[in-house]
Structure formats: structure tokens, C-alpha cells
Symmetry: C2
Subunit: 309 residues, 2 copies
């Protein structure tokens, strides 16, 4: 796979995820709720988590129609969870941010109450997308109904990564850590939950859709864990090195909010080195899986560490 082929894959798959989200996020929810949900999740973001889902699903073999439908559902569900967490995180009682993905945040656009409800409904929708019933439209022609065991497995992985042991727990530590110095171990624990858990779940949910079996799963889990942490280290780096218009969100806010970050704990150069080390660890774990088609995951790891927004 050449650089150009990988770029084409990224573009094509991002467009498919966008179309799937357009299909599954309702336009007609009552009283502007659907509008707020669509505003919060469509047409924006790098779609890192959905791309991890799809790349992991493809790691063993090409997908048939049913597996591809399942993978697009898993990809949409993780993005819905990620997007809802941003909607809530931006609210005045949390980070009080007005800019996200280059647009006014949801509460600025729709009011706080609607933003909270939209986030709540997006979380529920993630689990609806993973448990399609007969009336749920398919995006892949010819796909068979999703196997209930796969539905249950995907719900289990997603719920555990989103909840108190994962993302929500990490945000609670984040909240409590403002103004308190954390050592590297505590910082790692916070980020492993806050960002890492959902990124790792993306890889494992993709693997479940691709029917990848147990021995390779450990390697994929190690890849997901390392890349999840690398992603956050680079986020911390970009927060101090990039301007708001490049990031599409407010830059410099970790320092402004007096939050501990990898940059504040390790320094800028050492943080960048640490992210590269984690990337190498992720790629080594991948190589150890023996799976035939890990090149997309390998390249995603490079992009996560080398990105500038």
C-alpha cells in the first residue's frame, strides 16, 4: 500500500462514515433535538476512531457485506460517543469552550439545556446503532441482519469504554486535577481512561466485526492501548504548539486552565519523544499479531503521531 493508496482509503472511508452518520442520526427528532445532534456529530472531526474501527476490521481479511455493515455501525457508534463527550465537555460547567471543529460549540448554538439533551441522546443513539431492529436502514446493500452475539459484544465494549472505568472516569479525574500537579503515572491513568479507553475499544470493536480471533486480539489490544496514549500525548503537544484556527478548537487551554499535561510533566521535547516511543510500541504489537493486513493500522499510528491538528 503506497502513501497515495492509503490517502485514498482514508478519504473514501471517511466519506462512508459520514454517509452512515447522515443515515443514522435523525434529522426529525423533536424540538430541534435532531438538529443539535447532527450539528454535534456531522461534517467535522478527523474521524480517527471510526478509521481505527474500519482498519482493525480489515486486519485479517476483506469484509463481506454483513461484516462491513457491522463495522460501519461500530464506527458510527464510537464517533457518536466521542462527539457527545465533546458536546458535554464544552459546556460552561465543564471546560466552557465556544469553538469546536471550527464552529461555535453546540451550547453556544442551541443553548445549554438542548446541548445536554443532545449529548444524552447521542449516547443512547450509539447503542441503538449497535442493535439494529427491522426498521433500521442499512447502508451496505445485501447485508444480513447483525448477529445478536456481535451486537452484544459491541455494546459491552462500548459501554465499558464510555463509562466510569473509561472516558467518564477519566474526565472526573481531569476535573479533580485542575490546579493539582500529577506525576506521570497519575497522568497516564487519567489519559488511559479519558481518551485511551475509547480508542482501544475502537480497535477491539473493529476486530469483533472482522471476526478476528483470540490470539491476535491481545496484540490488537496492546496496539490500541499504546496508540490511545500516544494520541493524547500529541493532543497535549498540539495544545501548546498550534494556533486555534489550525486545531479548530481553542488552543492553549490546558495552560489557561492550569491542567496537568504530558508537556507540563515531561517538557515539550520529551513528550514528543514519548509519543514516538508509544507509536513504535503499537507497531511492534501489531507486527506480533501475525495478521496479514495490518498496514492501515500501522499507517494510522504514524498519522496519529505526526499530525498537526
Amino acid at each position: 500500500m503506497t502513501d497515495a493508496e492509503f490517502d485514498t482509503w482514508l478519504r473514501t472511508e471517511s466519506a462512508c462514515v459520514e454517509q452512515a452518520l447522515h443515515t443514522w442520526v435523525p434529522a426529525d427528532a423533536p424540538a430541534r433535538l435532531g438538529e443539535a445532534m447532527r450539528y454535534g456529530v456531522l461534517d467535522g472531526g478527523k474521524r480517527v476512531r471510526p478509521l481505527l474501527v474500519l482498519a482493525a476490521a480489515l486486519a485479517a481479511r476483506p469484509l463481506d457485506a454483513s461484516a462491513r455493515e457491522a463495522a460501519l455501525r461500530a464506527a458510527s457508534a464510537v464517533e457518536l460517543i466521542h462527539a457527545y463527550s465533546l458536546v458535554h465537555d464544552d459546556m460552561p460547567c465543564m471546560d466552557n469552550d465556544v469553538l469546536r471543529r471550527g464552529k461555535p460549540t453546540v451550547h453556544v448554538q442551541f443553548g445549554e439545556a438542548q446541548a445536554m439533551l443532545a449529548g444524552d441522546a447521542m449516547q443512547a443513539l450509539a447503542f441503538e446503532v449497535l442493535t439494529p431492529d427491522g426498521s433500521s436502514p442499512r447502508v451496505v446493500p445485501g447485508a444480513q441482519p447483525m448477529h445478536p452475539a456481535l451486537q452484544a459484544r459491541l455494546c459491552s465494549l462500548l459501554a465499558r469504554s464510555a463509562g466510569q472505568a473509561g472516558m467518564a472516569g477519566g474526565q472526573a479525574i481531569d476535573l479533580a486535577s485542575v490546579g493539582h500537579p500529577l506525576d506521570e503515572a497519575a497522568l497516564r491513568d487519567m489519559h488511559r481512561r479519558k481518551t485511551g479507553a475509547l480508542l482501544k475499544a475502537s480497535v477491539l470493536m473493529g476486530a469483533a466485526c472482522g471476526d478476528i480471533s483470540a490470539p491476535a486480539l491481545d496484540g490488537l489490544a496492546a496496539y490500541g492501548e499504546a496508540i490511545g496514549l500516544a494520541f493524547q500525548v500529541i493532543d497535549d503537544v498540539l495544545d501548546v504548539t498550534q494556533a486555534s484556527d489550525t486545531l479548530g478548537k481553542t488552543a492553549g487551554k490546558d495552560v489557561d486552565h492550569n491542567k496537568p499535561t504530558y508537556v507540563s510533566v515531561l517538557g515539550l521535547d520529551q513528550a514528543v519523544r514519548h509519543a514516538r516511543l508509544l507509536r513504535d510500541r503499537a507497531q511492534d504489537a501489531l507486527a506480533g499479531t501475525g495478521l496479514a493486513h495490518t498496514e492501515r493500522l500501522r499507517r494510522l499510528a504514524d498519522r496519529i503521531v505526526d499530525r498537526d491538528s
Copy 2:
């Protein structure tokens, strides 16, 4: 079943649900998050939804250990969704309420940010509880692992009742209706989503755990729909007839917030008559199912309409 036997059943089962929630809602979530979650869901409320789950599960036949474990998981999951919705609903950007279940609301006790996160984590936890993995403790000795098809079915029912087509959608209508007169049809649509959807889902989730088959399900769905609406009509009545200390929450707030209610649309007497009519309709639907053990559901319908808090 005598009144006394039914009372004993209510007391016993409420205690079992409480114990199950104690088991599954973590005490050790990071940075006071677990504490806020437990504060929001333990030791309070009438547990109407869990009792509907358990009564519906028992409508065909007694439960074996595995079905009872599943029913207690479903009962806990619906209560977690209900409790999270109260936590978010009480926040300043929504109803701005300070009293709930006779205690200060979660955001008063733990701060707004923690309350929002606790609600978010409670929603995720509901889906964790429905998809137990090997490390998840059981509350019923001898229960086998829950069948993946049952896990998927329960997640599907719960997600659809909690999301934009159900509870969250109803709350969005509620938000938009403040100060706007609604006719009875619009009011019914709002309440069917806001309160009715989760009550109906409770009945259907219980039926799924009790392995109740298709012909009886339609009758149970009709029961759930009618009783869901009756519950809300009575809520509207109690809001004007009872004092805050009886309700354990602020009374009179619908009028204060200028919200349309069944009392404001139908008048007090007519609203009470309407609730009784819905109760009769629910009980007729129940009788039509041909199920052998619907007496608990029948009595729950009476209690829902005759309650004073």
C-alpha cells in the same frame, strides 16, 4: 394474591433491586464519580420501573436463576437510566431543582460538572449491566451467563426508549413547550416519549427476560403504553395536590415554570378520571394476553394511579 402478599412482594423485590444496584454501581470510580453515581441512584425512589420489569418477567411462569439474574439486570438498567435523567433534569440549565427524593440534588451536593459526568456514566453503566462479561459479579447464585441474544434485545429496547425517539426527545419537547399552550394530543405525544417510553420498555424488557412470546407481547406493550401515560397524568395531578415533603421533590413547579400539564389542559377532576380510564385500559390489555400470572402487573397499575407521592 392478597393485598398483604402483594405488599410483601413489593418490599422484597425493592430490596433485591437495591442490593443489585449496590452490587453494580461502583463505589470506587475515580475522583468522587462513584460517590455521585451512588448518591443519584441508591436509597431512593419508588422503583416503579424495576418493579414493572420484575412483574412482567413473572407474568408467564416462575423464573429460574438465570432468568432472575437477567431480570434484576434489566430492572437495574432501567432504574439507572431513570436516575440519570433526573440528575440531568435537575441541573440549573434544565429545571434547576434543589430537592429530589427528599435530599439535595446531585449538582447541589457534588457540583454541576460532577453531576453531568455522573449522569453520563450512569447511562453507560446501564448498558454495562445489560452486557455482563466474565468479571461482572452475579447477584443470583447458580445463574448461567446471560444469552447474547437477550443482551442484545435488552440493549435495543433500552436505547430506543432512552434516546431521541423516547425520553430525551420528550424532554426536548418539554423544554420547547414552556410558556406555550399544548393541546391534549401534543401533550400526550410529549409524555408518551418523556415518561411513557421507559415505562413501556420496562414491561417489554421484563417480558424478554421471562421469555414471553409474541402474541402476549402486543398486550403487554398496550399495557405498558397505557400505564406509562397514566403514571404521568398522576404525576401532573400530584404536582398540584401534594406538598414537597410528601413528594420528596419540589411541588408546584409545573405551574411555577408555566409548563403545560394534564391538569392545565383537562382540569384536575378530568385528569384524575383520565388516569383511571388509562388504568382500566391497561388492565383490559393485560387480561387479553392470556398470561397466567398478571396479577402483579394489574396491582401495580392500581398503585400507580392511587399513589399519593
